[in-house]
């Protein structure tokens, strides 16, 4: 909750996890083996390689589950490192690159989230991708992703973390651009890769600074030095902390680097669910959590930035979600906003709160994406203006979607409620009042846009042209499992009653026990709850009646064209003019405009300027300037040769004459000068 006094030490009662933790590396290797196997023989299998992927993920899931229970019962702290290179580091020191895995509360929690969501998404994808092109490659890339993500989560040192980090980026690139025949898709993939690569500069330079200063890449040694207050590390801590956070901003889609995430929706929906909602984008949050003692101690001055960026992100993300027509984009902006919550929570010192939201969000957002995928699968369109009234034709999808939406909106007792409350309580305790109220306001917006989406998609009348039908069982069963998670996932941390989650993730960082046992923070709970409920109610009032007209309203982009609607929905006026219109109209569009033109403009502008610069460098500088000198020298030599070769007639006697004349001149010169 608020800022806990932290000591970075191995907890006394924690076990080493026994053989289970010693061989946890199996989880890292299996997906990569599956990747290879699918590439080599996947095409020949009846399900084109999906069975290998699912099998691999099942192994990982079982293993992760076993680790998770073991950690829940006795606590595990275990690290394995295998040296892959060692080299001199100046002054007789040496440093090593290592592969390895760390098994502790944080990583076991992530293992479970990643493998569970991945397993369900893989199964779902069998149905979703049926009859699509390149299914084999699709599953191979998913395995590559799973392996890289496990590598990232398990990383005991920063180098392995970078490897996993960029590995998931590669998988993201491959999967966003899955339908690369369309240039827009491959461009979206490239955009995601570039934005992440820019952010990766931060991560890499931060790693360089920390590693050189601390003389090691191992995270726990760096953290231990930070805890001891090593002076050299202290001098660079804030810069390094900010640089690493910059890396996290890219992967976790924080303002202003969030622009890639909505475009990433070009990928197939299972990809969006797995990578761009539940797991990959939380890597940044995970990174900050992993380095949390560092941010809590030495790099504390970097934390206001984390809090600030997180807050901006959670607000603008939610606003943008209000005006989208593409259902996946609503969810994408929602993800941006929720990631903002997590990052802001960590920035405010709420280690557990941020991770708890990561945990619940993984369930309900994956659920929402997969359910949205089921809808898209049925109506062959991403646009909500071509949906509506689907609750009758897609009942199972509808009910699971409702569960996910309630969880996202933060309605008790679903998962999202508990974690959002935890975050708001963190803001409250940290004494950042402005952030707290922005968080509450955004909770309202979240509930509002979520139920706008629900109502536009499932209520009213159907406006599309396909014949919607419920998806096959292979797709709906994962939805139901995730729905269970979205309902029950929050019960693992109920303030004052059950603090299991708290104990699971704390294993390396010993918190103040009284804080753990603290009960509900009513000052945070009540505003949050009111905001969420009123958001749902407001959405109901605005979007529930006569959806046909609502759709028309939603598509009208000029605010002046609403008088008709005003007369028809007299009761809505207060909501509309008081709340919805200002936010949805100028404000959201303004944010959208800033997003599309200023930030994206900067991105595109940087691209255009770079291209112009490169044309100048190549055309003027290289070809004319530098090569001009080269050509000038050779041209001068050439023309001198051309002039001189007239002398070379090839007639021996002319040469001889020249020779004789020369000799005579010499003789004369000798005689005369004597």
């Amino acid at each position: 909750m608020s800022t806990f006094p932290l000591t970075y030490a191995l907890q006394e009662h924690a076990g080493d996890g026994g053989a289970l933790a010693q061989y946890a590396g199996v989880m890292l290797v299996v997906p990569f083996l599956a990747f290879l196997l699918i590439i080599l023989i996947g095409k020949r299998l009846p399900r084109q390689g999906a069975e290998i992927a699912i099998g691999a993920m099942a192994i990982d899931f079982v293993y992760a589950l076993a680790l998770f229970f073991r950690n829940a019962t006795e606590g595990i702290v275990h690290e394995e490192q295998f040296e892959i290179a060692r080299f001199g580091f100046g002054g007789g020191r040496q440093v090593a690159f290592e592969w390895g895995w760390v098994v502790d509360g944080l990583s076991t929690m992530m293992f479970l989230v990643v493998t569970l969501v991945a397993l369900l998404v893989f199964i779902y994808a069998v149905g979703y991708m049926k009859g699509e092109i390149r299914v084999t490659f699709f599953f191979a890339a998913l395995c590559l992703f799973a392996g890289s993500m496990m590598l990232l989560v398990a990383a005991p040192n920063l180098v392995q973390l970078i490897v996993g980090w960029e590995g998931v980026g590669l998988a993201s690139y491959l999967l966003i651009g899955h339908y690369w025949e369309d240039r827009a898709n491959s461009s979206a993939a490239m955009k995601a890769f570039y934005v992440n690569k820019v952010a990766d500069i931060g991560l890499i330079l931060g790693t360089v600074i920390l590693a050189v200063t601390a003389g090691t890449f191992r995270i726990n040694e760096i953290l231990a030095q930070a805890e001891e207050g090593a002076a050299a590390l202290g001098a660079v801590a804030v810069v390094a902390g900010l640089l690493i956070f910059f890396g996290a901003m890219g992967k976790s889609a924080q303002f202003p680097l969030h622009v890639w995430l909505p475009d990433a929706m070009a990928g197939p929906t299972p990809v969006s669910a797995l990578m761009h909602a539940a797991t990959m984008v939380t890597a940044g949050v995970y990174l900050i959590a992993r380095m949390f003692p560092f941010y809590e101690g030495m790099a504390a001055d970097a934390r206001p930035w984390i809090l600030g960026i997180g807050t901006v992100t959670l607000v603008i993300g939610a606003m943008l979600a209000l005006v989208q027509d593409d259902i996946k984009r609503v969810l994408a902006y929602s993800t941006v906003s929720q990631l903002g919550y997590m990052v802001a929570a960590l920035g405010a010192g709420g280690y557990v709160a941020g991770l708890f939201h990561l945990w619940t969000h993984a369930f309900f957002k994956a659920l929402l994406f997969l359910a949205a995928g089921s809808v898209i699968h049925a109506v062959h369109s991403n646009n909500m203006s071509e949906m509506g009234g689907l609750r009758t034709s897609l009942p199972r999808t509808y009910w699971t979607f409702i569960v996910g939406s309630l969880a996202l909106a933060g309605i008790p007792p679903l998962a999202g409620f508990w974690s959002k409350d935890e975050i708001l309580a963190t803001f409250d305790h940290a004494g950042v009042t402005a952030v707290f109220w922005l968080g509450v306001a955004t909770a309202f917006l979240t509930a509002f846009y979520t139920f706008r989406m629900v109502l536009l998609t499932f209520h009213g009348s159907y406006k599309g042209h396909a014949h919607p039908h419920e998806s096959p069982r292979v797709m709906t069963v994962p939805l139901m499992i995730l729905a269970v998670g979205a309902i029950a996932g929050g019960f693992v941390l109920i303030p004052g009653i059950f603090s299991g989650f708290h104990h699971w993730v704390e294993v390396r960082q010993v918190f103040n026990p009284e804080e753990v046992e603290a009960g509900f923070d009513l000052a945070a709970l009540i505003p949050g709850l009111i905001a969420a409920v009123s958001g749902v109610v407001a959405a109901w009032f605005v979007y529930s009646p006569d959806a046909e007209t609502q759709e028309a309203r939603d598509r009208v982009s000029i605010p002046g064209l609403y008088p008709l609607l005003r007369h028809k929905y007299y009761l809505d006026d207060i909501y509309w003019y008081g709340i919805v219109q200002p936010i949805k109209g100028p404000l959201a569009r303004g944010v959208n405009w800033v997003n599309q033109y200023v930030i994206d403009g900067v991105v595109n502008g940087v691209g255009a300027v770079t291209m112009a610069l490169s044309r100048f460098v190549y055309g003027a500088l290289d070809q004319k300037g530098i090569d001009g000198v080269v050509h000038g020298v050779s041209a001068a030599t050439d023309s001198a040769g051309t002039a001189l070769r007239r002398l070379q007639s090839g007639r021996v006697q002319q040469y001889a004459a020249g020779f004789v004349v020369g000799a005579l001149v010499l003789v004369l010169a000798v005689v005369v000068l004597r």
Partner: protein
């Protein structure tokens, strides 16, 4: 007497030359015989170098092993001195290995005017030059091998190269691209080599001031640390400048790079591969083997300039890539950027930096070699290298497209593949360069280098999008393209495996180099070394 210890290196170096002679005896019409001889000889050479690697004592990788040191040209004090240490071992293996792959690839890929006999003969001579440069421990011997490389490559480009006529600004006549490129390559390198030779001679005479005049590299290195003032000051500055010109042209460093895009564009596929994979390394290897240990104090003076030029090369090469339309030219410019990272590592004068340079050299050899193979094979199929006409390659030639995608990822420095370590360690080194160098300058260079990695990703993915993705243009409708054949696969798979292997287990390279580099840096720049003595005094 141990045959391998005493003769191993010498045979590794000269076996290809013997092969070249054998091929010379075969009638031109008998292509099969020429190919078989080339294959057998190159495989034998590689196996021999592998045996050397297996018997190499990694515990003393900082010492020269398998040394041979006998009199050669007594009147000028040049000796036949060869040896292998941790720095030259990876380079020698890379060289012998790539030649095997080139022979395999050549089996059924011939550029006009075909003539396998001549082509393979030149290639084997080239191999002797390359292997020799990496093991030579005598300046004259080094110079001869260094120059021996020029001639075969000149002919490979000039005879088998691209025949498109090209207008050269400033010249009245049009000339064929291959002739232009070959001559440019030759003259550029010769220009640098002339200065390099001057530098070598000057070292020879100067060494006489402290005993017998010598061309011996270990002896000169020893001299540099026992006599700190000898190769220092204005004299040292000039000599280093001369060596710099010789090596920097070969690397190539900005602004001496303009021969490279032309040579690569014009060269036949195998020529490009050898050029990128091995020839460029001769320059950076020269810096590590000769310039730094013998002239530590001038190296220290020059280091900031080298670092700045290296980073200009990184940024400049990347920007130039974005303006290319010709695929091979793009890859060539990418070499300028990648070798910039190698040189940045060397310029830091630290253990990390020089290790970075070596692993960067190996990785660049593997990756860019593979890229040129792929570009060549694509040009072979499409008969164009113009990226605006290509597109949808992944659809037309799927396996080749997949390999191209993999290689592009490796080239942009994806962690977990070979290219990453060089770039990463280079940045690691430049955060903390040698104490007495300007930390501020090198940290600025580090940031620009990091920006360079983004630009690299930019042009590489852009190339991938233009060449590999999208729908194929109408031009190729109805064409049947055969996918990767088994010779191509046999040449490329080892490279792919090695790229992954070095990426996952960089110990393969660093295990050999680490100790050698530590000793080198300690002797040259460590406490009590020449640099410290001169700077302190």
């Amino acid at each position: 007497m141990d045959l391998i210890n005493d003769w191993g290196l010498t045979v590794t170096v000269f076996l290809p030359l013997v092969g070249a002679l054998l091929i010379g005896l075969v009638p031109k019409a008998n292509e099969m015989a020429a190919k078989s001889i080339a294959l057998v000889i190159s495989v034998l050479t590689f196996l021999l170098s592998a045996v050397l690697a297996a018997r190499f004592d990694f515990g003393r990788s900082d010492q020269y092993q398998f040394s041979v040191d006998t009199t050669w040209i007594e009147s000028i004090g040049a000796r036949y001195h060869v040896g292998l240490d941790g720095i030259s071992l990876p380079m020698l293996l890379l060289s012998t290995f790539i030649v095997v792959l080139c022979v395999i690839y050549s089996w059924n890929h011939w550029e006009e005017p075909r003539n396998p006999k001549g082509f393979l003969l030149l290639m084997l001579i080239l191999a002797t030059g390359m292997n020799g440069t990496f093991v030579a421990l005598d300046l004259v011997l080094f110079f001869i091998f260094f120059e021996l490389v020029l001639l075969p490559m000149y002919f490979l480009i000039g005879i088998w190269g691209d025949k498109t006529p090209r207008r050269i600004p400033g010249f009245a006549r049009e000339s064929e691209t291959r002739l232009y490129a070959a001559i440019k390559f030759f003259l550029f390198t010769l220009f640098g080599s002339a200065f390099m030779l001057l530098g070598f001679l000057s070292l020879y005479f100067k060494s006489g001031e402290a005993g017998a005049k010598t061309f011996d590299i270990p002896a000169l290195t020893e001299l540099a640390s026992t006599n700190p003032g000898l190769f220092a000051g204005r004299y040292g500055w000039l000599v280093f400048g001369a060596l710099f010109l010789g090596f920097a042209v070969k690397v190539p460093m900005w602004p001496l790079h303009t021969w490279l895009p032309d040579a690569h564009t014009a060269a036949p596929t195998v020529g490009s591969v050898l050029l990128a994979a091995i020839l460029l390394k001769l320059g950076s290897y020269g810096f590590i083997r000769i310039a730094l240990p013998i002239l530590p104090e001038p190296a220290h003076t020059w280091a900031p300039a080298i670092g700045v030029l290296a980073v200009i090369g990184i940024i400049y090469g990347s920007l130039a890539c974005l303006a290319q339309t010709d695929m091979k030219r793009l890859i060539a410019f990418s070499s300028v950027g990648h070798m910039g990272f190698v040189m940045l590592g060397i310029a830091t004068l630290t253990e990390v930096g020089i290790n970075a340079a070596i692993i960067g050299m190996v990785a660049h050899g593997l990756i860019t070699g593979l890229l040129f193979f792929l570009a060549g094979s694509m040009a072979h199929r499409y008969h164009t290298r113009d990226m605006s006409r290509l597109g949808g390659n992944q659809k037309l030639i799927p396996i080749l497209g997949g390999i191209l995608g993999f290689t592009v990822m490796a080239s942009l420095g994806l962690p977990g593949l070979a290219g990453f370590w060089g770039e990463f360690m280079s940045l690691l080194g430049s955060y903390n360069p040698l104490e007495s160098l300007s930390t501020d300058l090198f940290r600025v260079l580090m940031v620009f280098g990091a920006i360079g990695t983004v630009l690299t990703a930019g042009y590489m993915l852009w190339m991938l999008q233009r060449v590999n993705l999208g729908e194929p243009s109408e031009e190729w409708l109805g064409h049947e393209f055969h996918d990767v054949d088994r010779y191509e696969l046999a040449a490329w798979l080892p490279l792919i495996i090695l790229i992954v292997a070095v990426g996952v287990y960089p110990h393969l390279v660093l295990g050999a180099t680490s100790d050698a580099v530590t000793t080198l840096v300690d002797n040259a720049f460590g406490p009590g070394s020449a640099v410290q003595a001169v700077l302190g005094g």
